[in-house]
């Protein structure tokens, strides 16, 4: 049990590349913190620095108030679960879990007791004499967890522990990890590239990109009030829609039509340094089939008509895709996001695609023109140059129509 403080922690390599740029982060005792970001964002490097597997170039790392920069991993009292599990194949499950205790030179009786307790928690009692080669993926994963929890360390580090499991098992293990962490109440740092895992598991989520922290916050805050274009696009599935927009005559001109601007937004956008070109962002669930919107709500939104490109019925909702004239929004942040999503592998088109999540009762059909309502309170505007969210007011996004 301990708190972790990263104070301007930097990692650079002899060849001149810098993987992590002066990260500041405070992790409270017992907290479950997720580091999330696309590959190459420095999240694993950060984790390895906390573990002591990689040297810290500059800055300070404190665990439990004590500077540990120069301590060997074994002296930090940290346990780690690896993406590959890294089980010792020459040892049985029981020996694998007993290994850290044996190194700590605990008496045999105590080792047996601790291993049995951990095995019970993880439902591994029947497998203690098996070798890792004779276990399924999920069982191996649990052994890796068992080896970490068995010696009750100060801190758990987990490096994408679930990414090698198949989709169904991953969801089950996710809840198990979450339950285990609550039960043990041990400070945990968890690295993943999967934003769903990040949203569902963590007390707080740290979004990273290019070795820098983009935003730190609880999952709902990140979702509702993203600091910038990158966080907005990275968190949420399907991801936020982005369209180019310009300000003209007190209105917001977009491919969907001219949206009204509230007084406050007009003031913000009238300022001298305000960007003329903007990126409008809106999540799929903030659209609705106009026929199903109640009158009371209708006034908060804007309605437009567009031809339906494709309907995907999920049962609980319908994902409806529209093609929007006028091209897609462009920005460095969006290019990064597209690269991470494998956008380079998809056929490119100059038409922007709009994803909406409509109610299952909607009667939209492929090809038919449909009237769609969008919630103006949930619209974000971003500066394409630096990705900043200009709709944020005192850390909260209140849409474009707010006065």
């Amino acid at each position: 049990m301990a708190d972790i403080v990263l104070d301007k922690v930097t990692k650079s390599y002899p060849d001149g590349t810098t993987a992590v740029h002066g990260i500041d982060l405070e992790i409270a005792d017992g907290e479950f913190v997720i580091l999330v970001g696309p590959s190459g964002c420095g999240k694993s490097t950060t984790l390895n620095m906390i573990a002591g597997l990689e040297d810290i170039t500059s800055g300070e790392l404190r665990i439990d108030g004590e500077r540990v920069n120069d301590k060997a991993p074994k002296d930090r009292d940290i346990a780690m679960v690896f993406q590959s599990y890294a089980l010792y194949p020459n040892m049985t499950v029981g020996e694998n879990m007993a290994f850290p205790l044996k190194l700590a030179k605990l008496p045999k009786a105590e080792i047996d007791k601790k291993v049995n307790d951990a095995a019970k928690v993880l439902d591994l009692t029947d497998y203690l004499d098996r070798r890792p080669a004779n276990l399924s993926g999920g069982q191996r994963q649990r052994v890796a967890m068992g080896r970490a929890i068995v010696r009750s360390p100060k801190v758990f580090l987990m490096d994408e522990p679930l990414s090698n499991l198949d989709a169904k098992l991953r969801v089950q293990m996710r809840t198990q990890v979450s339950r285990l962490q609550k039960q043990l109440n041990t400070t945990t740092v968890y690295v993943t590239h999967d934003q769903t895992e990040a949203m569902t598991l963590g007390d707080r989520v740290v979004v990273m990109r290019g070795g820098r922290i983009q935003q730190v916050g609880d999952p709902q805050t990140l979702y509702d009030h993203p600091n910038n274009l990158f966080v907005a696009g990275f968190i949420g599935s399907p991801s936020m829609n982005f369209l180019p927009a310009t300000v003209a005559e007190g209105k917001l001109r977009t491919a969907l039509g001219d949206l009204p601007l509230g007084e406050r937004m007009q003031r913000v956008l009238a300022a001298g340094d305000a960007p003329r070109e903007l990126v409008l962002g809106i999540r799929p669930e903030h659209f609705e089939d106009a026929a199903l919107v109640e009158d009371r709500q209708r006034s908060h939104g804007y309605e437009f008509t567009a031809p339906v490109d494709l309907v995907e019925s999920m049962g609980s909702d319908k994902y409806v895709y529209f093609n929007v004239e006028g091209g897609a929004a462009t920005s460095a942040d969006l290019a990064d996001l597209a690269a991470d999503a494998g956008g380079a592998d998809l056929p490119s088109s100059d038409q922007a695609s709009l994803v909406t999540r409509l109610s299952a009762e909607s009667r939209v059909r492929d090809g038919a023109s449909t009237k769609v309502w969008m919630n103006l309170d949930k619209i974000h505007l971003f500066d394409p140059k630096d990705g900043r969210n200009v709709t944020l007011h005192e850390g909260r996004a209140a849409g474009v129509a707010a006065s």
């Binding site: 074994k74 599990y85 010792y88 850290p100």
Partner: protein
């Protein structure tokens, strides 16, 4: 069924092709001097005289001791050095790494014959000629590249995460190597040991050029010095018997280590 039969036939051909000369030598070693050239595969007159003869001569026993001693010492040194070098090559990025790998490949490919005369002169000057170290040193030189290549291939198969995991579990660098990496590398080490031992055991070129007396002559060389009881007697029987005898340590060595060569020992360590 048909393919099975064809494969079986092919296997049989290979086995026969490989074993006939060995069996022929064995058959010769059990023949009496009179029936040596009768051309029968199975001896008509069985005798153990040839075996008795070679163990009576001090020459052969002494050579056997030399061979075992020199081959074992060379193997141990080459494998220990090779293990350390291979571990460094597969795990670390150090300056001159590709040079080291390149030079060891160069040595492995170097024609040994061209080194015999210089080595002869050097060893004569330094007093190493006709001594155990005089053979052990060149053996290590040529066995090391073999050891380094085989072992680094084995080390590369061991996931690096295991070492990191051991460190996180509280092991020092040394403990991580001893308790986690070394047991996993054991099959590779034993395989390499067998290869190096056979290389040293079989060598004739250096052994005949760098020795002159029984003091350090190894078995392959001693065999070539065998003569019959008289100048006109054919030593074929004795040579065959000696050839059979020197095959035995190799077979024992392989059988002994075979148990430890369990393929796929690393499976299950990481997701596979």
């Amino acid at each position: 069924m048909n393919t099975k039969l064809r494969w079986g036939l092919l296997d049989a051909v290979v086995v026969v092709f490989a074993l006939v000369p060995v069996l022929w030598v064995m058959s010769l070693s059990f023949k009496t001097a009179a029936t040596l050239t009768d051309g029968n595969f199975i001896p008509r007159d069985w005798t153990l005289d040839n075996y008795k003869l070679i163990f009576q001569t001090d020459q052969f026993v002494r050579a056997l001791i030399n061979s075992i001693g020199i081959a074992l010492i060379s193997t141990v040194i080459a494998v220990v050095l090779g293990t350390m070098a291979a571990y460094a090559i597969s795990r670390l990025d150090f300056p001159g790494k590709s040079l080291l790998v390149g030079v060891s490949l160069l040595i492995a490919m170097f024609p040994q014959v061209s080194l015999v005369s210089p080595l002869f002169n050097i060893e004569r000057q330094t007093g190493l000629f006709d001594t155990w170290p005089g053979l052990i040193l060149p053996y290590i030189t040529f066995a090391l590249p073999l050891a380094i290549y085989t072992l680094s291939a084995f080390f590369k198969q061991i996931p690096w995460d295991l070492e990191k995991a051991a460190k996180m579990d509280g092991a020092t660098q040394g403990e991580a190597f001893r308790k986690v990496i070394a047991p996993l590398a054991a099959p590779g080490v034993f395989t390499t040991a067998i290869l190096v031992f056979i290389f040293c055991w079989n060598d004739f070129l250096f052994a005949i050029s760098l020795t002159s007396t029984e003091q350090s002559r190894t078995v392959p060389v001693a065999l070539s010095f065998f003569t019959g009881a008289s100048q006109f007697e054919d030593p074929t029987g004795a040579i065959s018997a000696a050839a059979v005898v020197i095959t035995i340590p190799i077979i024992l060595f392989v059988l002994f280590f075979q148990k430890r060569i369990v393929a796929g020992l690393t499976s299950g360590a990481v997701k596979g």
